[in-house]
Point group: C2
Amino acid sequence: MRTLGPVNIKQVAAEAGVSTQTVSRVINDRPDVSPDTRDRVQQVIERLAYQPNAVARSLIGRRTHTIGVVGSSLEYFGPSSTLAGVEKQSADSGFSLLLALLHEPATEDIGQVLTDMLSRRVEGLIWAVPEIAHNHRWIDDLARPAVPIVFLTMEPKPGLSVVSVANRTGGTLATEHLIAHGHRHIGIITGPLDWWESRERQLGWEEALVSAGLPVEARQIVEGDWSAASGERAFARLQEQFPEIDAMFASNDQMAQGVLHAAWTANIPIPQTLAVVGFDDIPEASYFIPPLTTIRQHSADLGRTAVLVLNDLIDQWRLTGRVATGEPVRLQPELVVRKSSVPQ
Amino acid sequence: MRTLGPVNIKQVAAEAGVSTQTVSRVINDRPDVSPDTRDRVQQVIERLAYQPNAVARSLIGRRTHTIGVVGSSLEYFGPSSTLAGVEKQSADSGFSLLLALLHEPATEDIGQVLTDMLSRRVEGLIWAVPEIAHNHRWIDDLARPAVPIVFLTMEPKPGLSVVSVANRTGGTLATEHLIAHGHRHIGIITGPLDWWESRERQLGWEEALVSAGLPVEARQIVEGDWSAASGERAFARLQEQFPEIDAMFASNDQMAQGVLHAAWTANIPIPQTLAVVGFDDIPEASYFIPPLTTIRQHSADLGRTAVLVLNDLIDQWRLTGRVATGEPVRLQPELVVRKSSVPQ
DNA sequence: GTGAAAGCGCTAACAC
DNA sequence: GTGTTAGCGCTTTCAC
């Protein structure tokens, strides 16, 4: 005789002729139950297909075994892989994932999503929203966060746990590679300059040029918006204002693809007349025409690392009652050389 | 004097000199509270930064305002967009999202993730895992599901709520386009044939050929694995076993990219010697060399639609107490013509 | 309009 | 080993 809704512990207890406490002991694998009783209860549990209510357990145990992820831009490869990494590591660590996406990361109201996650008592947060303009200002208002938070993809700040990619190093690697292959007139297509990551990659490019004694002028720089279309447009601009250009660093692979496409249209041989390096190493990059030299960042590792750091913080928090901060972690990107930068 | 942990309703009540009941009325916007009292309580709530515990509310209200999504393959564009669509519509409908990913969708144990979601009392489920081999067999065991489930990306079955893309129609559209442009020797690179979607796209290709009175032979068909690398390999095979080939349908854009890359390497002009059509319309497709003709599927819409259907089912379920099934929904893909199939 | 009592499903702390 | 009591944070009766 099932009532409405799922079976609860009381029904199991009644059916097995024991107290709810004993059922509780069985489902929690406590030692102090006689084998007989345990068996009997187990039987009933299976027969009724009883599933302990995690909501009730959370309420009492002060553990929800849930972490919240706030992300954005899933249409890009990097953020998606990062999310996949976060999910994988969370599952492996025994946490469920509450997901929220900001569809307008630059302006969307953060308070709502944050409040909601906290009211659901997530045990920690992964903040995987790119740092754009001042959209991270809310952090300053956050006197003392209610739960540990790990930030991805933003500038390391004291007092915050940040896991990021060494974007500047990436820009330097790309540019040094071009310099090493004899190029002296190296342009850059940046991402949107209100993104922290864009500015970092550009700084890396500048540092490499300066180190090599090469000039850095405004006409070598054009801003894109990460899209292939913007890469194509930016390249046209560069050709006008920097005609002696013989190599370029595109701040992501999509914009690089736009450049390759424009070069193909205009019959500009790559890499002979123009060498191109991208950033990201999306899976398709090896099948670009020609295959793209690029800076590989390990997006899935980023997600996994963030969860590992968060797990530590959660453990500390549960032990000490205080929300601590982790050491900043910086993942190193690496250069992947393909034909778009080196003949043959 | 804050105790450990977040503020609760009792502390607010004490501080405001009212009963917890009154606080409850205020946070639920009930009418029967005097303006005075309401104000006073509101003040305290703000001062203490009180946030009602959603876990406790779920326990009593029998509503968690949460839906579960089980997905996979986030490294591909389609599934990521679908997830983004699911998230957007859920947020708009006032639901939070519990996310689980299957990293081995063909074999991974489904029971675990399902149990976990149900024990957390999600109000409905979106099953966005591709149907591979027999990995959906568990559905048959599911006598009567505890909550409404909407399935994506699988074969419509009576008694199930399925939202899918008309893959077969897509295959037909692609092939008819090639036939209309005078091609008579049309090969296909399929996806993995234990995927339902692959077989459907292939069937669409066959139907178009048969309708046009063209032959369908085994040597025109090679199986890929969705990757660009497999597309490149498959193309080599096709050239051997089907040398008169003058056009081809690649079952996704990545494999088409592999073909374009191979053709470029071998100096085969596209579309003059070989016309190519893909499937998906990933954002990069317009920047392929040459730009790719393809079948656009609206992945984000798929996700949004699934949530809308699920919302209806949840409402019915709450009203009637019975888990109902929605009409199957089929989204139509469309042909996008670019230069890989038509000269100039 | 407001409060007291009871209970959502479960577990910790104590009895026996 | 097992049961009883109390309570997690909140809302739903039902008093007054």
